[in-house]
């Protein structure tokens, strides 16, 4: 399902938390929603999940406004907030069963849905444990399971990886990949940008309630860092390599980084291939390592945002 966010505005008194935010989420893609604290991510997500109403603007799912059709939106959106389940004295099974009932699932369908979610989120071993007894990572899995219990086609996940250890993060990433393969639209906010780089196909960068940059990860990175950085290491004195790279066509900047020489150059992969050929075949340099480097989401985030809040 396609989600269109069109000039979304949300004011809290005199504070404008969301300021004409517009973006589109296509089915089968995972979108990273990135911004500093107070940027308006959670507010936007809550509006998509029908928990809040915009001051102006529109959120539409397959052309149907979530404000006018909240019941429809609630059936197709699964929302995972940044807080963990609070019903400490419920077991994992009871928690999921409660939400399955709350979403109107009945009889065998409900039992099947709970069983499927337990399979998917690997919760069978925790079935009879109370939520109080779970670690943060386990609670996150339960929370994700709750968001998925009614099989939504759109998933809105607010900081799902916050506070997770590396293993739990990898598990979460795998779960999100599976969901993406199932054709679900996923919007995920996170501060752990390296995580997003690995799973997101698109990115929306927001600050002070405004979208600063958006598009597929490749597009955004190409826009933000149009040049290519090549790192090369040779056997022997890197000074010869440094001199050779200074002479290469399209070179913008050449610098020594330890044993390596880094070259910022214009062009794309073709240019890099030509450079490698030139170094090895024409100049006869003993190249032992040659790689291209691109800015990751963290670099982009630091480059685009200024850490200001609305």
């Amino acid at each position: 399902m396609r989600v269109e966010v069109d000039h979304l505005v949300r004011d809290f008194g005199r504070t404008r938390a969301v300021d004409h935010v517009s973006f589109v989420l296509e089915p089968g893609h995972v979108y990273g929603f990135v911004g500093p604290n107070g940027a308006g991510k959670t507010t936007t997500m809550r509006i998509i999940a029908t928990l809040d109403e915009p001051t102006a603007g529109r959120v539409a799912i397959d052309g149907r406004s979530v404000v006018q059709n909240p019941e429809f939106a609630r059936k197709v959106v699964g929302f995972m907030p940044d807080t963990l389940p609070a019903h400490a004295d419920m077991t994992v099974f009871e928690y999921l069963d409660f939400f399955a009932r709350a979403y109107g699932l009945k009889g065998g369908g409900r039992r099947q849905a709970v069983a499927d979610i337990m399979d998917f989120a690997n919760l069978h071993g925790l079935r009879e444990k109370t939520l109080r007894a779970l670690s943060k990572g386990m609670k996150q899995r339960v929370s994700l399971g709750r968001a998925l219990i009614h099989d939504p086609t759109i998933l809105v996940l607010d900081e799902p990886a916050a506070g997770l250890d590396p293993r739990a993060r990898i598990e979460l990433r795998e779960l999100l990949r599976v969901l993406c393969r199932q054709g679900k639209t996923v919007l995920i906010s996170s501060h752990i940008l390296t995580e997003l780089t690995e799973i997101c196909t698109g990115v929306i960068i927001i600050e002070r309630g405004r979208v600063l940059e958006q598009g597929t990860l490749t597009e955004v990175m190409a826009r933000m860092s149009p040049h290519l950085t090549v790192a090369v290491r040779i056997q022997g004195d890197p000074e010869a390599l440094h001199a050779a790279m200074l002479e290469s066509p399209g070179a913008l900047d050449v610098r020594r980084v330890g044993e390596e020489v880094h070259l910022d150059m214009e062009g794309g992969p073709d240019q890099a291939t030509r450079l490698l050929h030139d170094l090895v075949a024409r100049r006869g340099l003993p190249v032992v390592e040659f790689r291209t480097e691109q800015a990751d989401l963290e670099d982009l985030f630091m480059q685009i945002t200024r850490g200001e809040v609305a």
């Binding site: 008194g13 109403e53 609070a86 019903h87 939400f99 009932r101 709350a102 109107g104 409900r110 039992r111």
Partner: protein, 507 residues
């Protein structure tokens, strides 16, 4: 099927709450406390009764007295334990963001509140069933009949359910946790203890000692029972409506269900004395409940005056396009002007009933003279409620727009009332000190000193001038707010439909 599986037709909140209650320490403590108290009360009563009989040489109605004693003991646990348990659970849940998650499911806010109440009723039933062996034992000791026991316990059940609803309503109020604890300690607990002592006294004196068995076939008994049930239903409906409105999303049309249910409760509360008045042929019966209800509406006005004027997009999309249907929908939709229209209509309706009905039915004349008093006091209360509410709204709009949310207009009205009361007291004390000669019958001779004081409406000598002042004040405030009311009525239109989607690009 899972051994713990509940039928699908059950409210999910009830299912969850019952599951949690089963392992809840609070419920176990409540159950054990009630059993322990009953055991101690039974033993203690037996010893006391035995000693009394031995000393006085007479045997009292042992079963009846023991039943009263046990019921009072059981009532203490139920009156305090069950409402506090239900309210504490709800208040705890509403602290976190997790309660929001309920409202993105297909569950309606009404189902959440009903679920909480039914789950408390299940706990109540558990306490009742566990106490039945003790209570039924008193029947064997003679002095009490089964109908008396049943009616007395049913009444206790009804009162606990109403108190639980009241506690749930308080838990729905958006308050910080510290304030909630303060309210629980200073308001809820004393209120529950007062209810317990009042109930125990009334049940013991009015029901158990008199005995129901001989009255159960009489018309008077069923008329009384019907009245109690009708009033309980109206109170229950009203409290449920307010609780649901408090937990509903602000973007939804909270007013619709709230005002419909409150109107229904209003109709029931008026129908009961009306039926009584017609049945007894005595219009006087309407006077006190009617005046009381006018006083209630005086309290509704400041709350209504705190309603925001603008409608959310969601509500505007639900408005009918046809003018007549839209006009009919107006009093049942969020908003200040619509709330004013609704509450004025109901207040005026109550007043009209109070004025029109008593002369139509034959009166005993016992309190005939109080009609005029009731009319004046009722009108004065309505006018003062409206005047305080609108003035508070004006003060908030002009002075505290940024610092005080509109939902707290009622609190501003309360502050205004307190300031005026202090002013009255100060003027009274100053006058007493300096002009003792102008005092008549303990009151200041100049009536304007008491302007805006609802209690002053009881002063028959100067009532007209107080009433006039209240009416002028309310009218002036209405005139001040008229432009806003007109603007709201003009803006009461459905939102424009979204533009049609752009045609797909053939390329």
């Amino acid at each position: 099927m899972d051994g713990r599986d509940f039928p699908d037709m059950l409210n999910p909140v009830v299912v969850r709450e019952v599951r949690q209650s089963v392992r809840s320490r609070a419920v176990i403590v409540l159950l054990m406390a009630s059993l322990l108290f009953l055991v101690l009360a039974s033993g203690g009563f037996g010893i006391m009764q035995g000693a009394w009989s031995y000393a006085m040489g007479e045997v009292m109605a042992l079963g009846r007295d023991m039943f009263m004693f046990l019921q009072g003991t059981l009532a203490l646990v139920m009156f305090t334990g069950v409402p506090l348990y239900a309210a504490a659970r709800l208040a705890y849940e509403r602290q976190g963001a997790q309660s929001d998650l309920l409202f993105i499911t297909t569950l309606k806010p009404g189902a959440v509140i009903r679920g909480k109440l039914f789950a408390a009723v299940v706990v109540l039933m558990l306490l009742f069933t566990s106490s039945l062996p003790f209570l039924s034992f008193t029947f064997l000791l003679r002095g009490i009949d089964i109908p008396t026991m049943m009616v007395s316990l049913a009444l206790m059940f009804l009162v606990v359910v109403l108190l639980t609803q009241a506690a749930i309503l308080l838990a729905c109020l958006p308050m910080p946790r510290a304030f909630q604890i303060l309210v629980a300690v200073l308001v809820v607990l004393p209120g529950l203890l007062f209810s317990w002592s009042s109930f125990s006294f009334a049940a013991s004196m009015g029901l158990v000692q008199e005995g129901i068995g001989s009255q159960i076939g009489t018309r008077a008994f069923w008329a009384g029972a019907g009245t109690i049930l009708a009033v309980a239903a109206a109170l229950s409906l009203g409290m449920h409506a307010i609780s649901v409105a408090l937990v509903s999303p602000s973007a939804s049309n909270r007013a619709f269900a709230l005002r419909i249910r409150l109107t229904l409760a209003w109709l029931i509360l008026l129908a009961v004395p009306l039926v009584w008045a017609i049945h007894e042929g005595d219009g006087d019966i309407l006077v006190y409940p009617g005046t009381f209800m006018l006083g209630c509406f005086a309290l509704v006005f400041p709350v209504v005056c705190g309603s925001p004027g603008a409608l959310s997009e969601r509500v505007r999309h639900q408005l009918p396009r046809a003018r007549l249907r839209r006009a009919l929908r107006f009093p049942w939709t969020n908003g200040f002007a619509s709330g004013l229209v609704w509450s004025i209509c109901l207040g005026a309706g109550t007043y009209a009933l109070l004025v029109l009905v008593p002369p139509l039915v034959e009166s005993t004349g016992y309190i005939r003279g109080t009609y005029q008093e009731a009319y004046a006091v009722g009108a004065g209360l309505l006018a003062l409620g409206l005047a305080y509410g609108l003035t508070a709204r004006l003060i908030r709009r002009t002075l505290f727009r940024r610092s005080v949310p509109s939902s707290l207009v009622w609190a501003l009205a309360l502050v205004l009332f307190a300031i005026l009361s202090l002013l009255h007291t100060a003027i009274l004390l100053a006058t007493m000190a300096s002009q003792a000669g102008t005092m008549t019958r303990g009151r200041i001779s100049h009536p304007l000193v008491y302007f805006g004081n609802p209690i002053a409406l009881a002063d028959s000598d100067n009532r007209e001038i107080y009433l006039l002042f209240a009416l002028v004040w309310a009218s002036a405030m209405l005139a001040v707010h008229l432009p806003q009311i007109i603007r709201e009525i003009a803006a009461f239109r459905p939102a424009r439909p979204p533009p049609p989607p752009e045609p797909a690009d053939p390329s």
